[in-house]
Structures are given as structure tokens and as C-alpha cells.
């Protein structure tokens, strides 16, 4: 897991301007430093971070101090993608230094994004269904954790079987996201963010509280994990990523411990966060392409709008819950009234009234469920997705920065060489010339990277916009279906009650 952050073939492939897998593979082989032909399973053997961790908790104990609120809000501090172990992302090596998993279909990495785009045309026949189900508690006390069954049903050929089920825990999902982010974020792919941690929610589950809120929490998380996986595989490049395939197919998965805050990787993350913040402030990009500026502004606006919508829906859900409570309460009082009533027919009618109200209460509860899972979670997902989108824009800025830095370095090296020309130190001169060559290469690479990321972002944003529209449409149709269903139920209840009312006296 440690050494596979870079997908060099992608940038390399664009370097040749061609998309022939053969070239890519050659480049590949020359890039290999660790030549161990390990089986796919072993590749992601975690290095467990620089320090052996002493903490075996599933969730970050550190967060107990940082986040005292009920649920991690949309503005969670853990907003930054958790990148996998490895060299600090602030000093991204441009040259390929890592080995990619030598799977049989390793060629997929060589495919340029343009090919993937063609694939997208055929995406309407995207035949894949992932479900996350059967949450099970494993262990007790504070060491307990939930395990979820992930079932993938598909007819796509990159999968070994039509249907496969594996068991995964929450940190596995975080680990997957971490790997994907470290591989793809810096070339401009929008990697869907994983669901958020929740100390309070998880602690309740561990402690064994079987109350409604912990059941709701587990259900909320299960649903979020499912949506996360579906979003991930809908991305054409991510779908073919070996980590994703391994996650979905292999029965054993090494534990992703670097997702914990106090591990070595966790501390590295905190350091990087600070470094990134500083970088952001100091990089002043000369934007040559108005498209990017406009898009960034649009996404800022969208973020504000979505948050407002999310708040509106939360308020709606809250009121509906209140309505359900009040309806149940009224039903009880009507039942009591019916019991005390002497007049037989009136008494029966009142009891029926109470029953109708109880059924209506159940409808309210179902509607709460629909409101929440259809809208509230969708809007929440998109607010978080937007953060990932902003992330790629930031990455582009960083890439530009690196390119500029390389240019400055090259300038300096040239100046140094010029000086050495007059100093008559042949060996140093040679070194200087070598360095110039090196930095010229880096400048070219920097420019290529920048162009590539810009191109990728444009494509990703287009895909994001289309997906957004699609997602919302799907949700609206589902919501309407639930509304129609509710109304039809109501009609049945009222039609059943009417003769009872008419039969009084």
C-alpha cells in the first residue's frame, strides 16, 4: 500500500501522445523498482505506517476531544482526503518511482482518459449493482466494530464472477478512499469522498445500546457506504482500479490502519494539512483559462445553495417527526375517549378513528424515512462531493505551482552554469550541465502535468454536472413514487372509516 501512489503511465502515455498499451507497458517495466511479482493480494500489504501503532480502536480516539458534537457536520475538520502512507504529498516526485500491481489486466492504467470517454458512451449499459447489507457487530466493548456485507452483482468482464460477496468494516472503506485519493486526486480526478466518522454514533453502537438512535445510525451509515461505493464505481477509471476491484472481490483485506489519527500517517496528514494551507495562500496563479475561474465561482455558489437546501430539508424532516409524535399522541387520546364512551356505535367509531390516526402516523414515519434518505442524504453527499471538486481545482493550482518552481529552478541552474563557464572547473561544469538537463526535463514534465490535470478536470467537471442532474432526477422520481403511495394508502384508510362514521346512531 505504501508505494503505489503514482499512476505514471497516464502521464507517460500522454507524453507519447498515443494510447497504445504496448508502449505503456514498456514504460512500466522500466519504472519498476521493486520487482517482486507478488500476487495481487499481497500488493496492498500495508506497511502499517512508520510507527507500529499501539492503539487498536476502530475510530480515532483523538477525535473525542476535537468533535464533541452529535454528528460530524458538513464542515468536518477531517475534510482533507486521507492520503495513503508514502512520501509527503507536498513533495510529489514527478518521475515514476513506484511499482504498480502486476495484475493481469495491468494495461488498464495505460489507457488514456480519452479512451475512457468513449467507454462512457456505452455507459448506459452500465450493469453493476452494489449493495451493502447485514450489519453485524463483532467483538465487544470499545474494541467492537461493525462488519458489513458488500455484494457486487455485475456482468462486466473485469470482474471474475457475476456475483461476489465480501465482508468489510468501516475502516476498510476509509482505506479504499485513501488509496484512491492518493492515486488520482493530483491528476484531477474527482474521487468520491467516503462517509464520515462519528464518534458518538459509533460509541453507542459499541457500548451495545440497542435503542432507536443507534439503529438509525447503523442504517444511515450502511446507506452511506452503499452510495459511496456506487459513486466510486460509476467513475470509469476508478471502476478499473485494482484497489477497487480488490476491495469488492477479495475475501481478505489487510487492515487500513493509517486512517487513524494517531498513527504515523495520521500525524503526517496533520503536518501536510498545514503545509497545504500555507501553499494555498502563497500560490497566486495566473489564470490563462477563464473557464476554470468561472467554474470555481459556480461551485462556490452551488455550495452555498446546497447547504441552504440541506438545512431546509433537515427542518422538514424534523417537523415531520414531530407530526408523527403528535399524531400518535392524538390517536391514544381518541382511543381513550372511545373506551369511555357509552354509546356503542360512537364508541366504535372513535376507536376506529384512533386506529386510522395510528396508521397515518405510520405513514408519516415512512415519509420521514423517504425525506431523509432521498433528499437530506443526497444533498449532504453533494456538499461533500463539492469539497472533492474544490480539491481538484486546488491540485491544479499546486501543479501549476510546481511547474513554476521547476522553471525557476531551471533558471537558477542556467545562471549557475553561466557563472561556472568563467570559473574553469570542468567537473563542476559538467554537473551543472547535467542538472540543467534534469531540470529542463522537470519543466517539461511540469507543463505536461499541468495541461493533463487541466484536461482531466474539464472532463471530470462535465461528468460531475451530468451525474448531478441524473442523481437528482432519480431522487425526484423516487420521492414522487413515495408520495403517490402514501396518498393512495390514505385514501384507503378514509374510505374504510367513512361507513363507520355513517353508522353512528
Amino acid at each position: 500500500m505504501a508505494e503505489e501512489r503514482e499512476p505514471p503511465p497516464l502521464s507517460a502515455a500522454s507524453h507519447t501522445g498515443s494510447t497504445e498499451p504496448e508502449d505503456g507497458e514498456d514504460l512500466f517495466v522500466s519504472a519498476v523498482m521493486e520487482a517482486s511479482p507478488a500476487s495481487p493480494e499481497d500488493v496492498s500489504t500495508s506497511s502499517n505506517g512508520p510507527k507500529p501503532e499501539q492503539i487498536f480502536l476502530d475510530e480515532d480516539p483523538d477525535d473525542l476531544f476535537a468533535e464533541a458534537t452529535e454528528e460530524v457536520s458538513l464542515d468536518s475538520p477531517e475534510r482533507q482526503p486521507i492520503l495513503s502512507d508514502g512520501p509527503s504529498p507536498a513533495i510529489t516526485p514527478v518521475t515514476p518511482t513506484v511499482m504498480i500491481a502486476p495484475r493481469l489486466d495491468v494495461g488498464v492504467f495505460d489507457r488514456s482518459p480519452d479512451e475512457d470517454e468513449d467507454e462512457e458512451e456505452g455507459r448506459d449499459t452500465f450493469d453493476m449493482q452494489i449493495s451493502v447489507s447485514d450489519p453485524e457487530k463483532v467483538g465487544d466493548g470499545m474494541n467492537a466494530y461493525m462488519v458489513y456485507k458488500v455484494t457486487t452483482k455485475t456482468s462486466l468482464s473485469i470482474f471474475n464472477r457475476d456475483e461476489v460477496s465480501v465482508k468489510r468494516r468501516f475502516s476498510d472503506f476509509l482505506g479504499l478512499h485513501s488509496k484512491l485519493a492518493s492515486k488520482y486526486l493530483h491528476i484531477g480526478y474527482i474521487v468520491p469522498p467516503a462517509p464520515e466518522k462519528s464518534i458518538v454514533g459509533m460509541t453507542k453502537v459499541k457500548v451495545g445500546k440497542e435503542d432507536l438512535s443507534s439503529v438509525e445510525f447503523v442504517e444511515k451509515r450502511r446507506s452511506a457506504l452503499e452510495r459511496y461505493l456506487m459513486r466510486t464505481v460509476k467513475h470509469p477509471a476508478l471502476l478499473k482500479d485494482p484497489d477497487v476491484l480488490q476491495f469488492l472481490e477479495s475475501s481478505e483485506l489487510p487492515r487500513a490502519v493509517s486512517t487513524q489519527a494517531l498513527s504515523g500517517a495520521g500525524i503526517l496528514r496533520m503536518v501536510n494539512k498545514a503545509a497545504d494551507a500555507v501553499n494555498k495562500m502563497t500560490i497566486k496563479m495566473n489564470e490563462s483559462d477563464a473557464w476554470f475561474e468561472e467554474k470555481q465561482q459556480q461551485f462556490e455558489n452551488l455550495d452555498v445553495q446546497l447547504r441552504k437546501l440541506h438545512a431546509s430539508v433537515e427542518s422538514l424532516v424534523c417537523h415531520r417527526k414531530e407530526l408523527s409524535v403528535n399524531t400518535a399522541s392524538f390517536a391514544k387520546s381518541a382511543a381513550m375517549l372511545g373506551n369511555s364512551e357509552d354509546h356503542t356505535a360512537l364508541s366504535r367509531a372513535l376507536s376506529q378513528l384512533a386506529e386510522v390516526e395510528e396508521k397515518i402516523d405510520q405513514l408519516h414515519q415512512d415519509q420521514v424515512y423517504a425525506d431523509f434518505y432521498l433528499f437530506s442524504e443526497l444533498l449532504g453527499d453533494y456538499v461533500r462531493l463539492l469539497t472533492a471538486v474544490k480539491g481538484v481545482f486546488d491540485q491544479r493550482m499546486k501543479t501549476w505551482g510546481k511547474w513554476q518552481d521547476a522553471q525557476m529552478m531551471l533558471q537558477r541552474k542556467r545562471e549557475a552554469e553561466a557563472k561556472l563557464q568563467y570559473a574553469n572547473k570542468p567537473d563542476k561544469l559538467q554537473q551543472a550541465k547535467d542538472e540543467i538537463k534534469e531540470w529542463e526535463g522537470k519543466v517539461q514534465q511540469g507543463e505536461r502535468d499541468f495541461e493533463q490535470i487541466s484536461k482531466n478536470i474539464r472532463r471530470e467537471v462535465g461528468r460531475f454536472e451530468k451525474d448531478r442532474v441524473k442523481d437528482f432526477k432519480v431522487v425526484i422520481v423516487k420521492y414522487l413514487e413515495s408520495l403517490v403511495h402514501t396518498q393512495q394508502q390514505l385514501i384507503k384508510y378514509w374510505e374504510a372509516f367513512l361507513p363507520e362514521a355513517k353508522a353512528i346512531a
Binding site: L316, F330, M336, S340, E341, E465, L483, W494, L498
Partner: protein, 372 residues
């Protein structure tokens, strides 16, 4: 029970009494009350304020020469409403309960109307001159509150507790008192709970409105994708708007039918309670007098016995009036509740059908639009 109706009965038809309009001048509300003359088709229209209603009620309480007046279950007058109460969701508004909600004071007027109709159809009360002058006279009956009625319940707080549970001599009445106590309490609770439901429905409608408006604000024409997203948002906005209107209608239905019905039932049970209490007080008085008479010295005895006889006669009159009132009340309240329940069910059913139709149309439209 009542004497021959030598006194003029009401000259208008009880069922034609309507409150047709309401005007507001500062804090003062004026109601327009119309009714049809019994002879001929002439209509009468008068204007009254709440004080006038109170005057009417007091006049009914303080009638003289009506045997067994205290045994009558007086139709309950809805409490006074302040214009400010009706527009705010304040605590004061809760006191007015159901009658405060609803658009344009609809329920409140209906309740006042019902009150007048109940008075006008009561065999004894309809003969009260005050009712005639209330309904017919152009001039307002005046603000006189001279004669205090027979009701001072509020000032009997402590004694009330003791007397209320005084054991009855008659099984019929004891049973009725028990039944009344339990139903009065339960119907009051049910009314309050329904009020909570209606208020929550209104809050929900409001929240839908906010959501719908927020969706409108997401419109953005920058590029093709933004336009597509805007369309989706607008569609959703329309749907949520429909949800909002549905909740408003459901709340309004609850209010104007079941709500009104339960509120009326609750207040009528209170009115019966007051009547039963009056009778119980008379009973206590009678028993006290009996005891005093037994202990009385010979010279006072005759006077005491005469007094006792008078009280006994009064008590028996009250009891017989009360019995009739109770029987009438039992059958009429069932009818009233039945009508309200039927109304409620029919209105909710209609609303549900309309709404289902609307949602289905939206669903159809969306499915067609979105199938690519």
C-alpha cells in the same frame, strides 16, 4: 316541564341564524348576524360585538320565573377572541384553541353561530326575550351587566372541590356525574392533542414553503448543464409546493370539522358539569337544611320545615329539568359528533384523492421527461 308558551316564542327560524361577516376595528370585532323571519321571507341582519353575546348569556342565566332554571345545560359560549391572538402562534392563542386557527376566523364564527342556534332551538331558552332582542333589534342590547347570573363558580374554588364529590341520592345522577367527569377530561385532552397535530401540520407546510423557495434560488443559466440542473430544481420546487398545499388543506380540514366538533363536545361536557354541580350544591343545601330542621327547637321548627319544603321543591324541579336535559343532551351530542366525523372523513378523503391525482400527474410527467 315548561309552562304554556304564552310568552312569544322566537320570531325567526332557529336554523336560519348565520354569522355572515366579520369586521375588525382595532381590538373590537363586530359580527354580522342574519336570520329569516318565520312569517314571510323577510331577513333580518344585525351587528353585534362579543360583549353583546356575553350580555345574552348573562340574560339567559338570570331569567326569573323559570322553574328549574338551574337544571338547564346552557349552551357554552366560546371564549373571547383578541384579533392579535389569531394571527400569532402565541400562548394566548392556545387558550382560544381551535377557534383561533383557520383562515378568516371561519371556525370562530361557526362556533358562535352554533351557540346561537343551540339557544334558539332550546325549548325553554328560546323564549327568553333577550334572545329576541339580540337577534332582531337594530340597536345593540346595551352594555348593561347589572344582574349577575347564578354562576359564580370561579369564586367557589375551595368549596367546589368538596361539593363536587358529594355523593348523590339518585343513581341516575351519580352515574351521569361519573361519566361526565371522565368524558369531559378525555375530550379536553383529545381536543388539545388534535390542536397540536394541526399546528404541526401548519409548521410542516411552512417548512415545505421554505424548501420550495430555496429551490427556486438555485436557478442558474450559465451553461447547458446548469440549465438542466435548474430545470430539475424548479420541478422539485413545484412538487414541494404541492406538498405544502396538501398539508395546509389537511390541517384546515382537521380544524373545521373534527377540531370544531371536539371543541364543541368538550365545552358542552363542561356546561353539563356546571349544571350537575349546581344541582349537587342544591342537594348539599337541602341536606344541610334537613339536618338543621331536625335539630331545630320547636318554636323554629315550622318555619324551618316550610323552608325545607321550598328547597326540596326547588331541588326536585331542578332534578326533573336536569333529567330531561341530560337525555336530550345524550342523543343530540351523538348526532353532532356523527355529523362532524362524517364531514371530517369526507373532506379528508376528497383532499387525499385530489392530492393523489396531482402527485400522479407529476410522476407521469417526470417519468416522461426523464427517460432518456
Amino acid at each position: 316541564m315548561e309552562g304554556s308558551s304564552a310568552e312569544a316564542a322566537l320570531s325567526v327560524s332557529a336554523n336560519s341564524i348565520r354569522i355572515t361577516d366579520l369586521t375588525q376595528d382595532g381590538d373590537v370585532l363586530t359580527f354580522a348576524i342574519t336570520s329569516q323571519k318565520l312569517n314571510g321571507s323577510a331577513g333580518v341582519c344585525v351587528f353585534r360585538t362579543y360583549e353583546d353575546f356575553e350580555w345574552l348569556q348573562q340574560s339567559l342565566f338570570s331569567q326569573e320565573n323559570v322553574p328549574g332554571l338551574q337544571g338547564i345545560i346552557f349552551p357554552p359560549l366560546p371564549p373571547k377572541a383578541l384579533p392579535t391572538q389569531l394571527n400569532m402562534q402565541t400562548k394566548a392563542f392556545k387558550q382560544l384553541g381551535f377557534l383561533a386557527l383557520g383562515q378568516g376566523w371561519q371556525s370562530y364564527c361557526k362556533a358562535l353561530e352554533f351557540y346561537l342556534q343551540q339557544v334558539a332551538t332550546h325549548p325553554t331558552l328560546c323564549k327568553c326575550k333577550a334572545l329576541e332582542s339580540f337577534l332582531i333589534n337594530t340597536e345593540s342590547p346595551g352594555k348593561q351587566r347589572g344582574r349577575k347570573g347564578i354562576f359564580n363558580r370561579l369564586s367557589q374554588a375551595v368549596e367546589e372541590m368538596r361539593k363536587e364529590s358529594h355523593k348523590d341520592v339518585d343513581n341516575f345522577f351519580q352515574n351521569e356525574r361519573n361519566r361526565n367527569t371522565s368524558i369531559a377530561a378525555l375530550s379536553k385532552v383529545a381536543t388539545e392533542k388534535l390542536l397540536d397535530v394541526v399546528m404541526t401540520e401548519q409548521k410542516l407546510a411552512l417548512a415545505c414553503g421554505h424548501f420550495s423557495t430555496s429551490l427556486h434560488l438555485c436557478v442558474n443559466q450559465d451553461d447547458a448543464d446548469a440549465v438542466a440542473f435548474s430545470k430539475v430544481c424548479l420541478k422539485l420546487s413545484d412538487i414541494i409546493e404541492a406538498v405544502k398545499r396538501n398539508y395546509e388543506k389537511v390541517a384546515s380540514n382537521n380544524l373545521t370539522t373534527l377540531g370544531l366538533g371536539l371543541d364543541l363536545e368538550s365545552r358542552y361536557q363542561e356546561a353539563e358539569k356546571e349544571m350537575l354541580f349546581r344541582r349537587t350544591c342544591k342537594l348539599v343545601e337541602l341536606e344541610t337544611v334537613k339536618k338543621s330542621t331536625e335539630k331545630a327547637k320547636a318554636n323554629k321548627r315550622e318555619v324551618m320545615e316550610a323552608f325545607q319544603k321550598a328547597v326540596e321543591k326547588e331541588f326536585n324541579l331542578i332534578s326533573s329539568v336536569a333529567k330531561q336535559e341530560i337525555e336530550h343532551f345524550h342523543s343530540s351530542r351523538v348526532n353532532v359528533l356523527k355529523n362532524f366525523l362524517i364531514d371530517w372523513c369526507e373532506q379528508q378523503l376528497n383532499t387525499a384523492k385530489e392530492c393523489a391525482e396531482l402527485y400522479s400527474q407529476h410522476l407521469e410527467a417526470c417519468r416522461n421527461m426523464y427517460s432518456e
